[in-house]
């Protein structure tokens, strides 16, 4: 199966828009806290691909392996078997700096030890483009400003990070990822602490950014309807197994969703061809 | 609940048994000495101002300071000394006595196991807590306090009185006073040598002017350039260089280690600025000078011989001052000081005690 996929050479960008950008091939993973013990958790072999401009949703209940899969794609973990290619390069084997130029990860932020401004935070995204002891160039400043503008947070630039709201912080974190000018944008449960309006705003922005900047966006979520409405592809996981990969209409179907999420529901199609899931109460 | 109580009882029983066994060990290890035959006591006031009830003739004495141990030997009452500290090393026989621990942390059980009828302490290096603990055990503790050489001599006499050897004490102190007087006579007309007494080099620590060591220096016709009221001041090297002492004085138990110390100082950038270092003018005396005991007089004499060699001729001390030649503040710079350190034990004064 893997031989059928093309791996474009580094300088070859002419066919970039139609080529596969991200290719996950028969990737599995096992986690064992103690090397001599049997693994506690496994991700079974799975494959999927994504193109530039696509938004992929990785969907599943808790402990289904969504975050593990994202970490494998980001290069933080090495797969037990199989390979992950980004534009022909194995993500895990890239040097750290190069990887940071191609893949940006947005996740729940660690506690900030020392206060910093929002623009300082966004500038961190430019770190991957410099040598050992570098000072930011005009170009870096422009890119950072641009990134803030793209997430609609330009006026927050001079504010302190610990004095802005959760939603604003989320936007700044996204701006930092954009400042990395990546090919692949990964987000781990970005909607967790956002209200419904903010969730919709975020997904709208992601879809727009994917189209504008030709990102491939991979979002881990358990929000069925967000995935259904905004994703071009859905990967459905349950307990480490990939159950189904495909466009939302083919993945979000009643029988399989009820089995995965253990809740009665119904699925309708909206006029635009997108599935909408409605939950019922148990009794 | 029941379990808890039963367990506790069992545990208490085990501990109690263990405690008995352990407690019995030291007792069985010692031969129990007979209690003092005479319960006759009297009240005295010790040198710390405390009123103590002591036996008329103390026969089982524990000394908690090396200087006191030495004094007891000097007074010839070493047979009555049943215990001393780990640091009591002079005379060599003192090392064979039963050890009761350190100076600031003696082992009270060991002391009590010896059934002493008197424990001697000094106000300078022993702790008040030790004395209080001994009081609580009903063991009389007598404290000495010596701020200068005269105090040392009077302490020696008082101890002699306390221990019933007044005459021995008188002859010992008389002899010591005579030696000091003779020394004074020899040195009277000589200007004092300006010295720096070195306790420690890294950092530089000397002695304050109110210590008995400073007084000992004065008796050897040496003036310490340190004018501090603290007992162990840390000296600024710049100040020492500005004052340019004539001699550096070290204490050592061996001559070799002292000259090694000195040589290692001589190569350091700041110390080289001292004339005394460049001209190798250093004196080494025994560490008896650190102890307020009779032996300190020997150390004083030793120091005087090294600082003022011209004052010591072969003939005995005449009535008039002995230095006829032009009085020189220091020996000529060309001739390095002779380290007149003899490795023999300083035992002259013990001969008088017999």
């Amino acid at each position: 199966m893997s031989s059928a996929l093309r791996h474009p050479l580094p300088g070859d960008t002419s066919r970039a828009t139609t080529d596969v950008r991200l290719s996950v091939e028969q990737v599995s993973y096992a986690y064992a806290p103690n090397p001599s013990q049997a693994p506690l958790f496994t991700l079974e072999a799975m494959s999927f691909q994504a193109k530039p401009g696509e938004l992929v949703a990785i969907l599943g209940p808790n402990a289904s392996g969504k975050s593990t899969l994202l970490k494998l794609i980001s290069g933080a973990l090495h797969p037990l078997s199989g390979r992950i290619f980004l534009n022909g390069f194995e993500t895990h084997s890239l040097p750290v700096k190069t990887r940071a130029q191609r893949i940006a990860l947005v996740q729940q932020e660690s506690r900030l030890l020392f206060p910093s401004h929002a623009w300082e935070f966004v500038m961190q995204g430019r770190h991957a483009y410099g040598g050992g002891l570098r000072f930011e160039s005009q170009e870096d400043i422009l890119i950072a400003k641009n990134a803030l503008a793209q997430v609609g947070a330009a006026e927050l630039a001079d504010r302190w990070m610990d004095k802005i709201s959760g939603g604003e912080k989320q936007r700044i974190i996204l701006a930092r990822a954009l400042a990395q000018q990546p090919l692949l944008l990964l987000l781990d449960e970005p909607t967790l602490h956002l209200d419904i309006g903010a969730q919709v705003d975020l997904l709208e922005s992601l879809r727009r950014l994917a189209a504008q900047n030709r990102y491939t966006v991979v979002v881990v979520t358990h929000e069925l309807n967000l995935a259904g409405e905004y994703a071009d592809q859905v990967v459905l996981l349950q307990r480490g197994k990939c159950l189904r990969v495909g466009p939302p209409a083919t993945v979000l179907q009643r029988e399989i969703l009820e089995q995965v999420f253990q809740a009665p529901l119904s699925v309708e199609m909206t006029p635009s061809g997108r599935p909408r899931v409605t939950l019922f109460s148990n009794k | 609940m029941q379990h808890g109580f039963a367990n506790a009882m069992r545990r208490a029983r085990v501990l109690g048994l263990a405690g008995l066994l352990l407690g019995a060990l030291p007792l069985s290890a010692q031969t129990l000495a007979p209690a003092p035959a005479s319960p006759a006591t009297r009240e005295v006031v010790d040198e710390a101002g405390r009123t103590v009830r002591v036996p008329l003739l103390p026969s089982r004495i524990v000394s908690l300071a090396p200087s006191l141990t030495e004094t007891l030997y000097a007074l010839g009452v070493q047979d009555r000394l049943v215990g001393d500290t780990d640091y009591c090393d002079f005379p060599p026989d003192a090392q064979k006595k039963q050890k009761v621990g350190g100076i600031i942390n003696p082992n009270l059980e060991e002391i009590a196991a010896l059934h002493p009828d008197l424990v001697l302490v000094t106000k300078e290096i022993n702790r008040l807590e030790t004395v209080r603990a001994l009081d609580a055990l009903g063991i009389p503790a007598y404290a000495t306090h010596s701020r200068n050489i005269d105090d040392i001599l009077s302490t020696t006499q008082k101890l002699a009185d306390l221990l019933g050897v007044t005459e021995t004490g008188k002859s010992l102190t008389a002899d010591l006073r005579a030696r000091l007087a003779a020394l004074h006579a020899r040195l009277e007309l000589l200007p004092p040598s300006r010295v720096l007494f070195v306790v420690w080099t890294r950092p530089l620590i000397s002695v304050g002017k109110n210590t008995f060591i400073a007084d000992a220096l004065r008796k050897a016709d040496a003036a310490s350039i340190v004018d501090a009221t603290q007992d162990w001041p840390q000296m600024n090297l710049e100040e020492v260089v500005r004052l340019q002492p004539d001699y550096l004085v070290f204490t050592a138990s061996h001559a070799e280690s002292a000259s090694r110390d000195f040589e290692s100082l001589a190569v350091l950038p700041g110390w080289k600025l001292l004339d005394a270092v460049r001209n190798r003018r250093f004196a080494v005396i025994s560490d008896a000078v650190n102890r307020p005991a009779p032996r300190i007089v020997s150390a004083i004499e030793e120091l005087a011989r090294q600082l003022h060699p011209a004052a010591f001729q072969e003939r005995p001390v005449p009535e008039e001052p002995a230095v006829p030649a032009p009085v020189q503040a220091n020996p000529p710079a060309a001739a390095p000081a002779h380290i007149a350190f003899n490795a023999q034990p300083f035992g002259e004064e013990l001969a008088c005690a017999r």
């Binding site: 961190q124 870096d140 | 890294r202 600024n236 710049e238 350091l268």
Partner: protein
């Protein structure tokens, strides 16, 4: 939006360097011996130009031979401790970290005590005898660094929390061993070592040692400075740092070893001087922000300034006796620490 530029960095460092120079000049003037700066200036010039070997001013020799080396030692130790402090605060992600938290000072102290005990039994040349205490201290520090590194690893890499725990435990253990050994030291040795533990800059060091120290400082501080941007990101979060392009294991090892070497060198020659490594980084952070490209050189210069001032006070306040410099830093440091703490609360 005003990112740090090279120009701004150099200007700020230049100002700090000027302040340091002024402080050094004042420190040269003050002391047990009165000095006229004009006469001293002339002397320095003539020495520099190799015109004379004898100095015209009366006490010029004292100032150049004793006071200046001591001031330079304070500069070195202050800079080393502050850079080590900044580095450990970043490495351990803990604003309370100081250079001694990983037990290096205890290891150095133990090495020095062992050297003291051993020195008496060895037959050494005078030069060696002078060096044995700093060498022993540095060996003790080095062994501690290695031991804590082994303890502080998780999955083969340094982990901040594990490192901190390993260091604290090692420090406690070494302290216990030190206390035990100190009971075996006799009176004079004991007094001397107590002063050493309070920090002491008054002992003149052999010239070879001073050159070695400067060399070591430049190497170690330079190595840390190359990771300055990485440290900025590391503080944002370890996982995030990796995804932003930081080689976290490499940065951790480099910073750990270099900062430990700085601490070991400083403690070997001056004992344990407290508060400098903890507070100078915080003060510099208040003034200049958390960007380590500015913070590291600022801490070095700030630490040098602080320690020269403290040492000058230590040797002039109770002239002609010296106070331990660690006492001065504690006296000034504790209130400052409380003030900084309250600022953070507000």
């Amino acid at each position: 939006m005003r990112p740090l530029t090279l120009t701004r960095l150099l200007i700020r460092c230049g100002i700090l360097a000027l302040i340091l120079f002024a402080v050094v000049v004042v420190a040269m003037k003050l002391g047990a011996v009165q000095v006229s700066l004009y006469g001293l200036g002339k002397d320095l010039l003539s020495v520099l130009l190799h015109r004379t070997t004898n100095l015209s001013s009366d006490y010029g020799m004292i100032v150049l031979g004793i006071r200046l080396p001591r001031i330079l030692l304070a500069v070195f130790v202050g800079a080393s401790l502050s850079v080590a402090g900044v580095s450990f605060q970043a490495l351990l992600r803990n604003p309370l970290a100081d250079p001694y938290v990983l037990g290096i000072s205890s290891g150095a102290a133990l090495g020095a005590i062992v050297a003291l005990i051993v020195e008496a039994r060895l037959d050494l040349t005078p030069e060696m005898a002078g060096l044995i205490t700093p060498v022993g201290a540095f060996l003790g520090a080095a062994l501690t660094i290695a031991a804590v590194y082994v303890l502080g690893r998780r999955d083969g890499q340094i982990d901040s929390t594990t490192l901190l725990l390993g260091g604290i435990i090692t420090a406690s253990f070494l302290q216990a061993v030190i206390m035990f050994l100190m009971t075996t030291l006799s009176g004079n040795n004991l007094r001397g070592s107590a002063f050493w533990f309070m920090g002491d800059l008054s002992t003149p060091q052999p010239r070879s040692l001073l050159y070695f120290l400067s060399f070591g400082f430049i190497l170690a501080a330079g190595a840390i400075y190359t990771t300055a941007s990485d440290l900025n990101l590391l503080l944002a979060g370890e996982k995030e740092a990796m995804h932003l392009g930081v080689d976290v294991p490499r940065v951790r090892i480099v910073v750990y070893i270099a900062a430990s070497i700085l601490t070991g060198l400083a403690v070997s020659v001056s004992g344990t001087i407290g508060y400098v490594g903890l507070l100078v980084p915080h003060v510099m952070r208040l003034i200049f922000g958390s960007d380590h490209r500015m913070l590291i050189p600022a801490s070095a210069l700030g630490g040098a300034i602080a320690l020269v001032i403290a040492d000058t006070l230590a040797r002039t306040v109770t002239s002609p006796t010296d106070l331990p410099v660690g006492a001065m830093t504690a006296l000034a440091g504790a209130p400052l620490f409380i003030y900084l703490l309250r600022r953070r609360m507000a």
